[in-house]
Symmetry: C2
DNA sequence: CCTTAAAATTTACGCGCGTAAAAAAACTAT
DNA sequence: ATAGTTTTTTTACGCGCGTAAATTTTAAGG
């Protein structure tokens, strides 16, 4: 590194003995210049550490090299984990991911979309809030910016959706629970924020009917994203009032189950498969912490990295296909049964 | 909204019946124009939804309205929670936060700092990786960009640090455990990534000696940020070899404790205060999930929102104080003892 | 109504880079 | 060496906005 500070591309071109347009070409695509020229620039780059001004670059670009990533609630390790996968994949493809969390609030989600618009991103990977999303606004956004929706689908919105096959998730789990013991009741929030929850409820009902059982529900009040808290409260009440009509409980998601198991422990309700257990409990998602609950949680695993991988790949297809591609069929990943100690 | 699309500030100024410099002034500070003028612009804003091009704006600004937020590992709910607080506070102050996670890798942290440099942010809130941070690079960054370090201090680097008083955390917990039962042994990673862990170890030793007890350690191998996994493995081994010389275990952080408790449950080791319990377990941090462990985890609570609040406030002081202020003393927050069922 | 101060307008330049067109230079193959 | 091709250089314009200086308009106060 030399003392000389390079302010702009003009200066950098001079010190590397080239013209500015050539250097500009290099930064847009190193392969587009002659190997010998490339070498000269790379050498100069080591001596002078210059970086093109991103704002000046993007001002003149119709499309930037930015990818927006939007999740509904980053404090949920599930989304943190997905976001991490997405980020990594984008970087590998030479893009700069920009991460946003709606923190469970519609207003925030709307702000983020507006911000993203002005960022002229090459594309956006978005897990919408779901029920409380501003559908019209999300729809308009998807029409204007190449966007892949993942995790939670907003009906009729967006060209590309990547998610989990909730029908398969729940069917499989109900089937498993039914084979190995009592058929489960379904533990869920009364008004879930996430559309996956509604699909899982439907799937539960269908699966139970198919097996000749009557669906049974235990529903908890509560809004927001503090699912553990809600699950805990709901379980405490249900246990106190002995509200379970069966010895098996299927939770709509693992975070509810985590709260549920904590309540069971506190109330002295033994959970698991052993002879002296009163209850079996299962969940959905294979949350990062489900391995460490007491007992460890039997659940259906979402394939995080597959969803991330596929989302990014579909986004780049969308970006590449000049004309906005026809709305494609949703991609739904099947889940894997993870048999642990709780059921 | 009208059909007319506004492309730039010139056009927008025309439709609002004003000149571009006036409109420009408005966007930089709405208070700087006459109320009647402000109203006219705001009305036009509703009819035409125009937003200044952020890239063009930032190109000509020495300092942008961006605040960088860097955390070492976003999949850790502790950092997700802190980040959420920081984001919210920044937005309230009229800045645009930009969130980055190092994902536990030095290379990534370095890249983020380089990216941030080119973003010309007004300031940066950074929780460094700690031990594996590139100290020289972080130092240089802090000298060039107004930066507040939080959570984990890199010795001798940065002008402002906001964190927790680990000495007080651990002292208090050791004191409490000693008063209510056996003095604790210390459960930790052999080579912790985070400097807080080292401070806690020292504090543990001092506290034990002050109380006339000999410090005892159970140390686990393992690197990375999968603390629950590491804690679980360590506890399984320790229990198998009956490696505890005392009936009380103080974990270096809650995530290790979560894994620890899971292992205890699996091994049939009863944890808690009741007569039939073999072990008491405590942690540090009051992780968002510590309330839902089995049994619920006794710990020392970090004051998330206070740290966030203070960090943001100090950053804005740094930004406001034209000349780079003299290195100020660290701000350390005391923790609160959270007595739950595990100890 | 006139004086003053405050605010808005006009005019004009610059930021750092993308990019197009024409000319010059550097390679490649014969 | 020469014709033909590829790459680089020259030249020049534009992007959308910040911002400064000089001028004109507006509002306020006596």
């Amino acid at each position: 590194m030399t003392v000389t500070k390079i302010k702009n591309m003009e200066e950098f071109a001079t010190v590397s003995g080239l013209s500015r347009p050539t250097v500009s070409k290099f930064f847009n695509d190193p392969q587009s210049v002659r190997p010998s020229t490339r070498t000269r620039i790379e050498e100069a780059l080591e001596r002078f550490d210059y970086r093109p001004n991103i704002y000046a670059i993007n001002q003149n670009r119709q499309l930037t090299k930015t990818i927006g990533i939007v999740v509904p609630y980053l404090a949920d390790p599930f989304f943190a984990e997905i976001a991490r996968n997405l980020e990594t994949r984008c970087i590998e493809e030479g893009y700069s991911p920009s991460l946003f969390s709606s923190h469970g609030r519609q207003e925030q989600e709307n702000d983020i979309l507006e911000t993203l618009r002005s960022m002229k991103p090459a594309g956006v990977l978005m897990a919408p809030l779901g029920r409380i999303s501003d559908k019209g606004l999300v729809e308009r956004f998807c029409n204007d910016v190449p966007t892949v929706l993942f995790d939670s689908k907003v009906e009729g919105v967006g060209h590309v959706f990547i998610g989990s096959d909730n029908m398969q998730f729940t069917s499989m789990m109900v089937e498993y629970l039914n084979r190995t013991g009592d058929a489960p009741c379904f533990f869920e929030m009364k008004t879930p924020a996430n559309p996956n929850a509604r699909k899982r409820r439907q799937a539960y009902i269908q699966a139970m009917e198919r097996l000749g059982h009557q669906p049974k529900f235990v529903q908890v009040d509560g809004t927001g994203w503090e699912f553990e808290e809600i699950g805990h409260r709901g379980a405490m009440e249900a246990i106190t009032h002995d509200a379970f009509e069966t010895s098996t409980v299927l939770c709509s998601n693992d975070r509810l189950a985590i709260g549920f198991l904590a309540a069971c422990y506190q109330k002295g309700v033994r959970v698991g498969l052993k002879k002296d257990c009163h209850l079996r409990v299962a969940g959905h998602d294979d949350h990062p912490f489900s391995k460490f609950t007491c007992p460890s949680l039997t659940t259906v695993a979402q394939d995080y990295s597959a969803i991330a991988e596929k989302s990014v790949r579909r986004l780049f297809e969308l970006i590449a296909g000049e004309s906005d591609a026809a709305p494609s069929a949703d991609t739904l990943f099947e889940g894997k049964l993870v048999m642990r100690d709780s059921a």
